[in-house]
């Protein structure tokens, strides 16, 4: 059975252009980029050139890019890097974030609480967007209490519902109050503007595994002048901010992927927005009592997240899976906890609809035919599951 992969927000395949450029770095130009011989220098050059390529797209200087091993690592580096720096200066302070962040942000901050940091999670509206006013009030209130706001961390785009935050405005607000903004752009890389000057951003996390590059690749953009404690200590790699033998193929692949994404951004945005809206419209037309989660407009072009009243997400997921459709759910049943998605709860969904959500995330290889098939199968699936559901009353 041919598979339909609608889980591109979870991870993407390595695209063939990327695979092609990295293949020589596995077994041929494999040397350690810190070695001093020709092969080492060649590896170093590959890293340097990759850094320069990405710097161009991010409109920053190459020294502002720290290659890491994943989105999670970049996030941990950014947040703990700032926090430990303060701690070692004998200070603590407040970090402000918001409720729909990825676990990598929320769990990191949860851990920092144990060290005495004060963590504030802002609410979001029904669309999943933070309020600039609330952020401003929170900063002012903290500063009035003489709590230094050492960092604000707000994601660029949400991984579950695709909501896009007003990053530039948030950054400007942070700067007005002399604090800094980190943004988790793991889901944004492929589709949104990454110009750090235009965004006025201070710290930004990118991730290879969502942009047709490698799992195990990522980077942190760090504006010049911002001080971080490293997360991985050892050799002096990455401007002494991230030790460890440079993962040359990963880095080369990440640069290539970001470059391709940038080139195709405009056309892919257009194509996917059309497909997305077609998907949503068709689904809502065919299946009654299906509710879009998140914003209609301030939304990643590849994200469809819908709750189907009366049926539970995992059961939808697994029945679609039998039809060759691979997607995701915000239901608790696929996680380790009994609680459904914290994101759906944060945007005000009741537990019933939170347990009833499905996420379809399109990608580079998605097309209309796949959507038509999916909606057809989904319709049958929802109908059947509603038949056996005790909370569905026709």
């Amino acid at each position: 059975m041919k598979k339909i992969y609608f889980d591109n927000a979870a991870t993407t395949p390595v695209r063939k252009e990327v695979l092609k450029v990295i293949m020589p770095y596995f077994s041929k130009n494999f040397a350690n980029a810190s070695s001093f011989h020709s092969m080492g220098l060649e590896a170093k050059k590959a890293v340097t050139q990759s850094r320069e390529k990405i710097a161009k797209i991010l409109n920053c200087s190459p020294e502002e890019i720290i290659f890491t091993g994943s989105g999670t690592e970049s996030i941990n580096l950014a947040i703990k890097g700032i926090a430990f720096k303060k701690l070692l200066e004998g200070k603590k302070g407040t970090v402000i974030t918001q409720k729909t962040e990825h676990h990598a942000v929320l769990e990191t901050l949860e851990w920092l609480k144990k060290f005495g940091f004060n963590i504030i999670e802002l609410n979001v509206n029904k669309e999943g967007i933070v309020s600039l006013k609330e952020l401003e009030n929170t900063i002012i209130s903290e500063q009035n209490k003489r709590n230094e706001v050492i960092l604000v961390s707000i994601m660029y785009a949400n991984n579950e519902i695709g909501t896009i935050q007003p990053i530039k405005e948030l950054a400007q607000l942070c700067h007005k109050y002399k604090t800094i903004l980190h943004t988790d752009a793991c889901q944004a890389t492929e589709y949104l503007n990454l110009d750090t000057k235009e965004l006025e951003i201070d710290l930004m996390t990118l991730n290879g595994s969502k942009v047709y590059a490698f799992k195990g690749s990522g980077l942190l953009y760090k504006k010049k002048g911002i001080g971080l404690e490293p997360l991985l200590h050892g050799g002096g790699h990455e401007f002494k901010l991230r030790a460890g033998t440079e993962n040359v193929p990963s880095i080369v692949g990440l640069a290539k992927a970001i470059e391709l994404a940038e080139k195709e951004k405009k056309s892919e945005n257009k194509r996917l927005t059309q497909l997305r809206d077609y998907f949503i419209k068709k689904m809502q037309k065919e299946i009654p009592k299906s509710y879009l989660n998140g914003s209609k407009t301030k939304r990643l072009p590849n994200n469809i997240n819908i709750s189907f009243e009366g049926v539970e997400g995992e059961s939808i997921l697994l029945r679609l899976n039998e039809k060759g459709i691979e997607a995701s759910t915000g239901s608790a049943c696929t996680s380790q906890s009994l609680d459904p998605s914290h994101v759906l709860i944060a945007i005000g969904r009741d537990h019933g609809l939170a347990h009833s959500s499905m996420r379809f995330t399109l990608g580079k290889y998605s097309n209309k035919k796949e959507i038509d098939y999916t909606v057809k199968e989904l319709k049958k699936t929802i109908k059947f599951l509603r038949e056996i559901s005790p909370i569905w009353r026709r």
Binding site: S315, L318, R319, E322, S331, L338, I388, P390
Partner: protein
Amino acid sequence: MKLEGNDWIYSKKVKEHFIKPKNFLKNQKEIKDFNGHGSVGNIKCGDLMEMWIKVKNNKIINVKWKTFGCASAIASTSMLSEMLLEKGGMQLEKALKITGKDIMDRLGGLPAIKIHCSVLGDQALRAAIYDYAQKNKRTELSVEKPIEEEHH
């Protein structure tokens, strides 16, 4: 958790009962044919279950159910309904002894994080038997009042 068959997280038996569940209530009108009804679960945890039983001569001779929940919840209710109806129906006393583990064993096991789901089936059954016992003054049946939980 062990994987089996074509990469299903669940056993073959779970998959079978989940994909083609048995004895669920197809038509609301059938309800009148039953003399015991139970409803358990909690929408917060994402599992809700209703069960209808028809008791005759102290035997469960028919059973129907409805479930909102994950694959294992659906499969375990379906499995339970099959267990009850084997050999022409089960004595109430025996039915009261069915545990979550019994259902799970018949399903060929469940992943650890899923075990809470299978426990619902036997609870729904107990609630239905309690309802039957109440209505039919079968006070000798040692079955406790189920804890009421709110629905959606």
